[in-house]
Amino acid sequence: MRTRPRSADGGARSRRRQALRVAVLAVVFMGVPPRPLHAQGAPVAPAASQGAEWLYAWSPLAPLADLPRTVPGSAMAMPRLLTMPAPRVGLFWTAGNPAALVTEQGQGWSSLEAELSSADGDYRRPLDAGSERRTRALAQGWAAAGERSAAAGRLSLDQRTSRSPVHAAVAFPFGSSPLVIMDTAGSAMRHSAARVEGAGSVNLGRASLGAALGMDVQESRTLAAPVPRLIRVAAPAATVGVALAVPGTDRVQVGAHASWQRARQSVGLYSIGGATRVYQLSGYRDAPPMDLAGAFYNRDIQRESRAAGIATAAVVGGTTVVAFGEVASTSESHTSLQVLDPPSDDWSGEGLTYGIAAARAFLRDRLALHGTIRRAALEGTARLDESGDVIVFAAEEDRLEALLDARMRLHPWIFGFRVAGTRDMRVRIDSVAGMTARIESWTSAAAAEVARSVGTNLSLALGLGVASYKPAGSIPDPRPPGSLFLGYIGPELAFYGTDATAYSSTITAAWDTRGSATFFLQAEMGSVSPAGTSGFRLGPAVGASRTGWAVRAGATLKPPG
């Protein structure tokens, strides 16, 4: 067991700093909602969902009972003053209950966006690609569909090309589950993903009913590799909900929703032009290798998740407040043999998410404040086919996130400011190897963006963001370490055990046609690098960094009339 080095009086000072951070977090910050599944790569520039987390809260495809491990210190997203509406709060926008869309949709909005981005550098996890280029198209919006119904929808197409070798042979190697497949013949890959999701709700007087359906499909394949690799994912999801206006007042709504997701992932490795060694990771110990030469390897991964949640929204003294809670469970099975009723390796998790959000406008709507605090906790266990009912891996994970978003209009200026913090606690125990990793991390981030109208149609915006990642805890240090631990498992643990700092900046130009559309062009740059030395022998090298850029172009559309 290896503990992260601290200074001589580090214990007491660290505890004080920790207490201070908790206090600050409890008051100010907010959590970032779960990101789309295909945003689990190693981006540097924030994903399109960041900065508009409220737009994704209703997504039926948001991970359930899963806390994906993101790149430490991903820079804070900008308020996106010129390309996104101001954040909203409500049963639909915060708790993700589709029934409330009809009562909370307000004025419709839609956008089309295309993004080209790139990231590369040596500050990365072993299963990350060294360099990636991404093309993405996104269309989303919501609108009334008649007098008593409304609909929202989103479609995104995402293509990533990793020119450097990728060793992960699954689409999501950084989830809570320790069951991951990798092979040593890393190859350049192209990942194509599409996600389509929609929500509709109908108002029936005091009650509203709603449903959201979504589908995530992905295909990843190697590019001209001696050991071709094909990975496919098909993941449908659904959420149904009901919302009720509390009798006697129009200011209080209560709602309940239930979600279901199913993901089927098939992994194929074909050693037709070379050899490779496949590992089915299940924790921190060296998994037995499977040597493939002139053979095929196929693995089927099926995941099913369910969730149920309740929420209430109230308008109190001009402030909209939403409190929400959700319990979720997930089970995942990995099977290899193509026979009836094959044995499987299994992962199961139970999750709890709850939080509160509030929004209020001041100064005749010139100043808008929006804040959210969200906590997500998860417990999960893994069992292997050969281990029977014996738990081989257990995880306890806890994430507390907070965010405050403020934006102010002083014509011709608009100012936006976001501060966020995340406390992430992960205890992951490999009971077969007797190894435990305990990593507690703190991420604090801030971003500011200022926009100005230039003439009648043109607006320009400039934004800067910074984030800091500070971990503490201990990671296993087996003696002697196996080759798998040295090459893949240990470096990832050390990666999360190392301080990091990230910066980002954006520049945006928007052209309002004074008609039905606003066209925009946005460029974003970002970098993340370890802060100081790692302290772990397998940690990132001194001077390592990862940089990236993104260019987005698109249009936001106003509803007809």
């Binding site: 609909a151 929808g153 197409l157 599409a194 098939s266």
Partner: protein, 937 residues
């Protein structure tokens, strides 16, 4: 079978007499049903002037006035589809139920995009009729075609009952067969003919009024080839050449077609491409494997007297991305011009020039297929002209002519490894000294053909009331000549690409296709569709026709008939109530043989007389005698079939139910009959055979003995019978208004039976051993087997439509309920029918004698058949498509095929595995410039 007379003469007389009678008969009023109303803009309600309003499947067309008003008269009773078209607007189609008498009012709403219209039809229209047809048909209109994310015509045909769902792309040759279930393909019917080949071969595809033909496609390597490449020869037309983006309307006549359509046994697919004035539209489709760009546009000029249009499509599909560089690509385009001439614009001339390029490239993959590669390329050109002259008395004369030419090139290479085998390249009969082929070499083969066709149709059509019936009469003639040219089947004789290039199974020499005689075909037909309202407003529709097809003896149509077929056809429909239609049909149909079947390649048998292989090449000696067997069958004629169906249709207030039972019998389907013949093998003594002399030995004349080698000559013959029976159910349920969702169910039960009156001679290795070993006196033979296939499948389509949002979700679930294949052949060791002697005679053995000790050597397993029935487990496949309008008449669609990535069910103890193509997904973006036009002042 042979009909040397010309029965069309009497038919022509009947035809002429009928037309004269019709023209001279007084017209009587009939069915004064009128449909009137206004054409308005869907969102604003503003009137739309100049919209063409018509009743689909009829000639009834009017143009709305400045107030948007229209009036259609003499509309046939029953379910009909109104259609409104105007430049800049999406075509509006609206189903109505027309009573036997009276006037009905109907408002037609038009919008820029069909997604914004109520009642958009994104599935096949079962209530609609194929134009001029009374038989059961599925009509896929422009809206449904636009809503399909299909790369080819095959993708659009998914909307037809019995068709499998598929991802858009160009991966595999797409041949369409109607109303047949797959069979095992195991029982050696000869020549590799399968039920699927026969079904697709017998399905007629008509593109813009002119048949597409695969009859002159000779791009085949034959049964003796070791190398392979993708080819559509022997089956139906490869419809990958037809981009879905260019389609305007597809009619699939599943039932008995009218006498207008020939050269088919299964049904007809009538395809109209987009033409005339169309605001330019652009389409882009992308998925991780495929990309496609398409555009279409057209302009009217000269005060509307002329119109010109174009379509262009470029598509590419990688068939195994990540594993190989195999890919297919297509370029297709069409230019069209229409001009209206003459007094009162009576003459309309339509000219079209169509071109396409279709590549299927499978390059060498150094990891998997070392030294193996193949490609095929088709470059086609078709020029057609259709002249329509409107005559007095509601008559019209239509003359259609076309010339089409397709350059087909194919190449394959593969390494071969041979032991030392004697070999000759002699192309005439006789004995000659040969050489030895041995070791490893790269075999290569090129097949270059240029199938061409000239086609013409002259048709006179008239609509008259006569004898209390409303008649729609058509009479016409077709002339067709098909031939092939080009270098043909070519390879280096030193490096043979065939499995056994010597002796027993025959050998194919290089062959030029321009030496193959053309095929000449003519046909005459008369067809009358009669409508009458009986007592109690009961409406009776009849369609009676007679067609005569002739296959000519020589190269042109003036030569005598090699074979002819008289094909009566009758469809009847009774509508006792306005919402109920009872229908039945029966007809005879016929399909031409292909050029390859009429003129098969000669079969060469090179008998080895001396095989002296010494280490010193100079001392080797090979003597071979070449025999040439001509497999031509002068008796070969049309494949014949009868089609019968009966069913009913229920028109619901906002839906439709159709149930049809059918029974199709193909007799005289063409396959290879394995005729027994023999060749003589002379054996010689050698002199001067001492090794080390540096010279080969010499043979001593005369031959010391002669034995016979029985050989099988694959001769095309009308020996296959196929029977297809089934039920088709289509239920389009009313829309559930609160959730704006509609369900369509298509369920099909089909059973196919394929049999042959030929013989089966056992596994190839056993028969070849018998051929070469003169000590084996006989070998058993069997009757050809019977293959049966049964399929039950249901396709559920859920359509959710939000017109106000311009939003449509279509989810299709195809449930493969039952798939079973069975061979009805005796498989025990007493199943042999008799034996073949060395003199190439078949000697039958009575069943009661087959157990006798003297037949011990004949009691061997038959092989090549299913001993137990084979079935696949029930499973389902789901696809989904989401479409949303974009500004300026744009549309964005997301589609996912096999959205659950269902690989299929694993095999159980008594089942075969069901394999589904894996998940695919992509985007389609389309836009029209029509919206820009409306934005202009």
């Amino acid at each position: 079978m042979m009909a040397r007379s010309c029965p069309w003469r009497s038919l022509v007389m009947v035809l002429v007499a009928g037309l004269v009678g019709l023209a001279s008969a007084p017209s009587r009023s009939f069915a004064q049903v009128a449909v009137t109303g206004r054409v308005v803009e869907a969102r604003t309600g503003a009137p739309i002037a100049g919209a063409a309003v018509s009743v689909e499947g009829t000639q009834i067309t009017v143009v709305s006035d400045t107030a948007g008003r229209y009036l259609l008269v003499r509309v046939p009773p029953g379910p009909q589809t109104l259609r409104a078209e105007r430049l800049g607007f999406a075509v509006t189609r609206l189903g109505i139920n027309v009573p036997a008498r009276g006037t009905i009012e109907q408002v037609l709403r038009m919008a820029e995009t069909p997604l914004a219209l109520e009642g958009i039809m994104v599935t096949a229209d079962v209530a609609g009729r194929a134009r001029g047809e009374l038989g059961t048909a599925s009509v896929v209109g422009a809206d449904a075609i636009r809503e399909r994310t299909a790369a080819t015509l095959a993708g659009v045909l998914e909307l037809v009952p019995g068709m499998q769902l598929q991802a858009p792309g160009l991966e595999a040759i797409a041949q369409v067969g109607l109303r047949s279930a797959p069979t095992s393909g195991t029982t050696a019917l000869g020549g590799g003919t399968t039920a699927a080949d026969l079904a697709s071969f017998g399905t007629l595809v008509v593109l813009d009024g002119i048949p597409l033909s695969n009859n002159a496609n000779l791009q085949s390597l034959g049964a003796r080839a070791e190398l392979t490449f993708a080819t559509a020869a022997g089956g139906g037309v490869d419809v990958r050449r037809i981009p879905a983006a260019s389609l305007e309307r597809v009619e699939v006549i599943r039932g008995v077609p009218s006498a207008r359509y020939g050269d088919l046994t299964q049904g007809a697919i009538v395809v109209d491409t987009r033409t005339a004035a169309i605001a330019p539209e652009f389409l882009a489709r992308y998925d991780p494997r495929s990309g496609e760009l398409a555009t279409v546009g057209g302009w009217a000029f000269a005060n509307g007297g002329q119109a010109a249009s174009f379509t262009f499509d470029a598509a590419r599909t990688r068939t195994q991305p990540g594993l190989s560089d195999d890919h297919a690509r297509r370029l297709a385009g069409q230019l069209a011009h229409r001009v209206t001439l003459g007094v009162q614009e009576r003459l309309t001339m339509d000219t079209r020039l169509e071109a396409f390029l279709l590549d299927d490239d499978r390059p060498e993959n150094s990891n998997v297929r070392v030294g193996r590669a193949s490609w095929t390329r088709e470059r086609g050109l078709r020029l057609s002209e259709r002249a329509r002259l409107d005559l007095p008395f509601d008559a019209r004369l239509v003359l259609t002519g076309s010339y089409s030419r397709v350059e087909q090139n194919a190449y394959a290479t593969s390494p071969r490894l041979r032991g030392a085998e004697p070999f000759t390249d002699r192309t005439t009969e006789g004995r000659a000294e040969g050489r030895f082929v041995m070791g490893r070499y790269d075999a290569e083969v090129n097949v270059d053909g240029v199938p061409q066709m000239i086609y013409s149709r002259l048709e006179l059509a008239a609509e008259r009331g006569w004898g209390g019936w409303q008649h729609e009469l058509r009479a016409g003639s077709e002339l067709r000549r098909e031939w092939n040219a080009g270098a043909g089947y070519q390879f280096d004789m030193e490096f043979p690409p065939q499995a056994t290039f010597n002796a027993v199974q025959g050998y194919d020499r290089p062959r030029r296709f321009d030496a193959v005689p053309p095929l000449a075909h003519s046909a005459f037909y008369i067809d009358d569709r009669l409508t009458r309202t009986l007592a109690g407003d009961v409406v009776l529709n009849l369609q009676a026709g007679l067609r005569v097809d002739m296959l000519h003896e020589a190269e042109w149509w003036l030569s005598g008939a090699r074979d002819s077929r008289v094909q009566p056809r009758l469809n009847a429909e009774l509508m006792p109530l306005s919402w109920l239609r009872l229908r039945a049909g029966w007809g005879a149909v016929a399909k031409l043989p292909t050029l390859g079947q009429l003129h098969p390649a000669p079969q060469y048998h090179d008998v080895v007389n001396v095989n002296w292989f010494a280490n010193d090449p100079a001392e080797r000696l090979a003597i071979l005698t070449t025999f040439i067997k001509d497999p031509t069958n002068p008796q070969l004629g049309f494949a014949r079939a009868t089609k019968a169906e009966a069913g009913f249709e229920l028109a619901l207030p906002d839906g439709f139910i159709q149930l049809v039972g059918f029974s199709d019998r193909v007799s005289g389907g063409i396959s290879l009959r394995q005729d027994l013949e023999f060749v003589l093998r002379d054996r010689y003594q050698l002199s001067d055979s001492t090794l080390g002399t540096g010279v080969p030995p010499r043979i001593v004349e005369p031959a010391t003995r002669t034995d016979t080698i029985p050989v099988l000559v694959g001769r095309p013959d009308n020996l296959v019978m196929q029977r297809n029976r089934g039920l088709e159910l289509i239920a389009l349920l009313p829309q559930i208004r609160p959730i704006r969702t509609r369900l369509e169910l298509q369920a099909v039960w089909m059973r196919s039976r394929l049999e042959s009156d030929g013989y089966f001679h056992g596994r190839a290795d056993r028969f070849s051993t018998f051929q070469l070993n003169e000590t084996i006196p006989r070998t058993p033979y069997w009757l050809a087997g019977i293959e049966e296939g049964e399929r039950v499948m249901a396709t559920y389509r859920v359509v959710h439509h939000q017109p106000s949002l311009g939003f449509v979700v279509t989810a299709a679930i195809q449930h493969n309920i039952h798939d079973r294949q069975r061979d009805r052949t005796a498989v025990d060791t007493l199943a042999f029918e008799g034996f073949v002697t060395r003199a190439a005679e078949r000697v039958p053995v009575p069943p009661e004698a087959r157990g006798a000790p003297e037949y011990q050597d004949l009691r061997v397993p038959r092989g090549n058949t299913l001993i137990e029935p084979r079935s696949a487990p029930a499973d389902w496949l789901a696809t989904v498509q989401v479409s949303k309008t974009l500004p300026l008449s744009g549309r964005l669609s997301f589609w996912a095929f096999n959205v659950m990535d269902n690989p299929g069910e694993y095999a159980g103890p008594n089942t075969q595995r069901r394999v589904y193509p894996r998940m695919r997904f992509g985007l389609e973006l389309s836009a029209s410039t029509g919206a820009f036009g409306r934005l202009l002042p």
